[in-house]
Amino acid sequence: MEMQTVRFYQTGTFTVGNRLLAPHERSVQAEAQRANALTSGHRACQGCGEALGARYAIDAAMRATGGKIVAVNATGCLEVFSTPYPETSWQIPWIHSLFGNAAAVASGVAAAMRRKGTDDVRVIAQGGDGGTTDIGFGCLSGMFERNDDVLYLCYDNEAYMNTGVQRSSATPPAARTATTPAMGPEPGNVFGTGKNVPLIAVAHQIPYVATASVANLRDLEYKVTRAMEFRGARYVHIHVPCPLGWGSAPADTIKVARAAVESGLFPLFEAVNGEIVSSTKIRRRTPTADYLRLQKRFAHLFQPGGEARLAHIQAIAERNIVKFGLEGTGA
C-alpha cells in the first residue's frame, strides 16, 4: 500500500482527523456501514485498550474481506467481557475453545474452509499476551511454521489481567503485578526476562508480522488491512493499555499507549517474509519516565533508590530506537 505523508494533525494530539483526509484514507470507524464486529454493551472496563484495539482490528479485517471473517478467541478478558451467556457482543462467527489453543483451532477452521471451497472466508485468531506468549505459544509456533492461513492478533496488555494482574512473559521489567510485587531489593518484575514474540514470529519467516498500538489507530487499521493481503500465517501484536492492571487513568489509555511508542519502549514495525521492512519513526521523543509515571505499577521507580532502574529502562528504549531505526523523519 502506498503511504501518503499527511501533515495536518489535530492540535496537540497527533491524531489525523478524518475530515482532513481523502475519503479512501479515512478510518474504518468513520464509515456509517462499519462492521461494529465487537458491538457496544460488552463488559470491558472503562478505558480498556483491548476492547478498542479489537474493534478497530476486526472492523478493518471485515472491510478488507467484505465481511467474510471467522474469529477464534483464546480465553481471557476479551472472551469473558464479550460473551457472558446468553449475551454476545460479536456480530461475526466466533468461537472460544481454550486458553492455549486459539492458533490451533484457527488452523482447523482454515483447513475446513479450504475443504469446503470457501477460503474467501478468512480466519482470525486472537488472544491476550498470556494466551499468546505463554500458554498458547506452542500452538502459535506450530501455526506459524505450517504457514497456516491465519491472522493471529495478540492484544498485549503485559500481564494476566483477567485473573487479576499476574506476570506474563510480556510483562516489562520493574512492573508491579500480583505475582511480582513492588517489594524487596528488586521491586516488581525482574530485568532481563520475558520474550519478544513479534521478533520470534519474524524468525519463523512467516509472510507478515507487525506491531501496532491503540495510540495509532490508523496505523493499526493499515497493518490489519495489509495482513489480509497475504495468505499464510500472519501476526499482528497490538499494544493495549489496561487501566486496571497498569494503574493508569481510564481517560489516559491513548496517552499512555502513545508514550510507550514515542519513548521507544514499544517499537512499531512491519516485517515481510522474515525481514523487517519498515518502522514507524518517533514523532516527538518522550522520556520513558513520562510513560512510567502515568502508571501506578511503576510508582516504586519514583521512590528514592529507583534511579538506577529508571536509567535501565531508559537504556532499553534507547537500544530499541537504534535497533528498529525509530529516529528520523517519517510518516
Partner: protein, 417 residues
C-alpha cells in the same frame, strides 16, 4: 473385500471410507500406523478432498480438530496414552462444545514408569470427559466401529472414541472384511452440522456460562449419552443388516445361559476369555462372559439383564483405580444394585502383561470356589513386591522403585509373559 492386513491399516482404510475432510496427526506409539496410513492415502490422492495436518502436539491435534469440526467438516484424529493426557483439556472441550469428532485410541499404559504396551489406563482416564467410548474386541470390530462412530457422533453431535488395544490389535495382522465405498456411503450420510462457523449466519460458540445454566448444559450432555444407549444398538442392528456381520452394540454376552460365573471385560481380552469359557464349559463348569462394547454411555440396564441370574461376577480390568481397585467394577456393581451375588475385581494385563489362558483358567476356578480376594492382581509377582517393600523399609534413601524392581528381576529384556 477380504484382506489380510495390519489392524492399524484396516482402521486407516475404514476412516478413509468415511470421507473425513480434516485429519490431524501427532505421532505416539502405538497409534502411529493409523495416521501414517491415512497420510499416505491423502498424499497419494486416494483419499481426495482431505486435509492432513501434521501438528506439534496432541493438544494441538485435538484443537485443530475442534476448529475444523466447528467449521462444519468431518474430522478425525488418533492418539494413545500420554498423548491423550496431553490433550485432556481439549478432550473435555470438544464434548462440551458438542463437536462430533471421531478419535481412535490405541490403548496404552500411562507412565511413570514409561511403558508403551497395552492397557486401558489412558481411555479410562477420560471416561467422564463426555465422549462416547466404544471398545473393540477384534480388528474387524474396530474397523466396523469407526463407520458406526461417525454416524453416531454426527447424529448426536457428540464426539466418539473408538478404543482398540495397542499392539494386540493395532499391530496384529489378521483377516478383515473391508466394505466398499458405496456400502459405507449408504450407511453414513454426509455430515450435517448442528452448528457451524459461517459469516452468512454468524453465531457465537463457546460463551461463558455461569451457574444459571451450567447444570442444564451438563444435563443435556448426559441426556445425549442416554439417547446413545438407544442409538448404539439400533445402529449396530442396521449395520448388521447392511454389512452382514454383528459389530458394536452395548454389550455382547457369550454363553451366559445358566452361567453361575460370568466374566466381564473390555476389548481384545474377550477372545482369550471366550476360549477359556469354552474349555471350562466342556468340563461342565457353568461359566460365561460379557464383553462391554459401550463403556460410555455405560449400559446399566443391559448389564443387569445379562448378569442378574449369575452367582458371581468377575470383572477383569486392564486398568487400576489406585487406592480403590476397579473402575469397570464400580459400574458393574451399580448395574447390579440390590442383587445379592459375589463380585470380584481382577486387575490384569497392566502395561502389556500377557493375560494367558492358563492364568485365566486358574483365576476362574478360584472364583468358582469363591476363593478370590475382592481385588486381585492377576499374576502379581508377590516375591518381587515383598522384597521391594522390605528393602524400602530398611533404608530411607531407597532410590527409584521401578529401577530397583528391574534390577531385582535381573533382566531388562522384554519379558511380557
Amino acid at each position: 473385500m477380504l484382506k489380510q492386513t495390519e489392524g492399524s491399516h484396516a482402521i486407516a482404510e475404514s476412516v478413509a471410507l468415511c470421507r473425513p475432510k480434516v485429519i490431524c496427526a501427532y505421532p505416539i506409539t502405538p497409534q502411529t500406523h493409523i495416521v501414517e496410513g491415512l497420510g499416505e492415502m491423502v498424499k497419494a490422492g486416494e483419499l481426495a478432498d482431505c486435509e492432513f495436518i501434521n501438528v506439534e502436539s496432541e493438544f494441538a491435534a485435538l484443537s485443530v480438530a475442534i476448529g475444523s469440526s466447528a467449521a462444519g467438516v468431518r474430522t478425525y484424529t488418533a492418539t494413545s496414552s500420554q498423548g491423550l493426557l496431553f490433550m485432556a483439556e481439549a478432550v473435555y472441550n470438544a464434548s462440551g462444545l458438542g463437536l462430533p469428532i471421531v478419535m481412535t485410541i490405541g490403548n496404552r499404559a500411562i507412565g511413570a514408569p514409561i511403558n508403551i504396551w497395552n492397557d486401558h489406563s489412558d481411555s479410562m482416564s477420560m471416561r467422564d470427559a463426555g465422549w462416547i467410548q466404544l471398545y473393540a474386541e477384534t480388528n474387524q470390530e474396530a474397523l466396523d466401529l469407526h463407520i458406526q462412530a461417525f454416524r453416531l457422533a454426527e447424529e448426536l453431535s457428540c464426539p466418539v472414541m473408538v478404543c482398540m488395544d495397542g499392539f494386540i490389535l493395532t499391530h496384529a495382522y489378521e483377516r478383515v472384511d473391508v466394505p466398499s465405498q458405496s456400502e459405507v456411503d449408504a450407511f453414513l450420510p454426509p455430515f450435517e452440522p448442528r452448528q457451524v462457523l459461517d459469516p452468512a449466519e454468524p453465531v457465537t460458540i463457546g460463551a461463558m456460562v455461569g451457574p444459571e445454566a451450567f447444570t442444564e448444559v451438563r444435563y443435556l450432555a448426559h441426556h445425549k449419552q442416554m439417547r446413545a444407549l438407544e442409538r448404539i444398538p439400533a445402529l449396530a442392528a442396521e449395520f448388521e443388516r447392511r454389512f452382514g456381520r454383528a459389530s458394536g452394540g452395548l454389550i455382547r454376552p457369550y454363553r451366559t445361559e445358566g452361567a453361575e460365573t460370568i466374566v466381564v471385560a473390555l476389548g481384545s481380552v474377550n477372545g482369550t476369555i471366550q476360549e477359556v469359557v469354552d474349555e471350562m464349559r466342556e468340563a461342565g463348569v457353568a461359566i460365561g462372559s460379557v464383553a462391554i462394547t459401550s463403556f460410555r454411555p455405560f449400559p446399566l440396564a443391559a448389564l443387569r439383564e445379562a448378569l442378574m441370574h449369575a452367582k458371581r461376577v468377575v470383572v477383569l480390568e486392564k486398568c487400576l483405580a489406585v487406592g480403590l481397585g476397579g473402575i469397570v467394577s464400580d459400574g458393574v456393581r451399580k448395574a447390579l444394585s440390590g442383587i445379592q451375588l459375589n463380585g470380584y475385581t481382577v486387575v490384569a494385563g497392566l502395561g502389556g502383561r500377557a493375560i494367558t489362558r492358563a492364568s485365566l483358567k486358574r483365576l476362574f476356578e478360584e472364583a468358582g470356589r469363591d476363593a478370590l480376594e475382592a481385588v486381585t492382581f492377576l499374576d502379581l509377582n508377590t516375591d518381587l513386591v515383598a522384597h521391594e517393600l522390605d528393602r524400602e523399609a530398611g533404608t530411607r534413601r531407597s532410590g527409584p522403585t521401578a529401577e530397583a524392581l528391574l534390577k531385582r528381576l535381573g533382566t531388562v529384556s522384554a519379558r511380557i509373559g
